[in-house]
Point group: C2
Chain length 107, copies 2
């Protein structure tokens, strides 16, 4: 069990996918550029290749952990983490059920 | 900034809304019963009245914080927290972009 304070340490925001490229050194990873609102953009590395095509991702509203310490994945920096639900072999990206602007806070 | 360990303390799962009632003591709150998979069901109190009708919520896949200590909101116990993005006055519930089973873990 966690407290509401533990949860509030985690900053979740809406971001919009602007570009998708193959990771040069990893078969299962995409490198995404996402719009995080107010002119901000970030690079994310996400293990969703094989589950989504670049076309399915472009323009999509996704949910990211925005205050995670950057990590380097096979030589590419990830400035946040895309959230997805795992159901056996199926992977489903988290999104919002209405159009909200990039940078919108989740709570 | 937080670490991946901080984030992993927070358990997020997919749940499906099974019933929606007005909170007897609060104008802005609904009391939801949600399916959390494997026969599990929970009661959530959510401040989304005015943004959603019960009809819009029934059957919807939502994302909940499932390991939050229960809280009592105006006399009704909430056994978790529904996640939504706030964009000014607009509120948009988090969901998944594909049909996954209740109880599916988010990471």
């Amino acid at each position: 069990m966690i407290t509401i304070q533990d949860f509030k340490k985690v900053e979740l925001i809406v971001a919009v996918v602007r570009s998708v490229e193959n990771h040069p050194n990893a078969d299962k990873l995409f490198i995404l550029r996402v719009d995080t609102g107010e002119g901000g953009e970030r690079q994310l590395v996400a293990g969703i290749k094989g589950h989504y095509t670049p076309q399915e991702l472009l323009g999509k509203r996704i949910i990211i952990v925005s205050n995670l310490a950057p990590a380097t994945l096979r030589g590419a920096e990830s400035q946040g983490m895309l959230l997805a639900a795992q159901d056996g072999e199926k992977l489903a990206i988290l999104t919002t059920d209405k159009d909200v602007k990039p940078g919108a806070r989740v709570g």
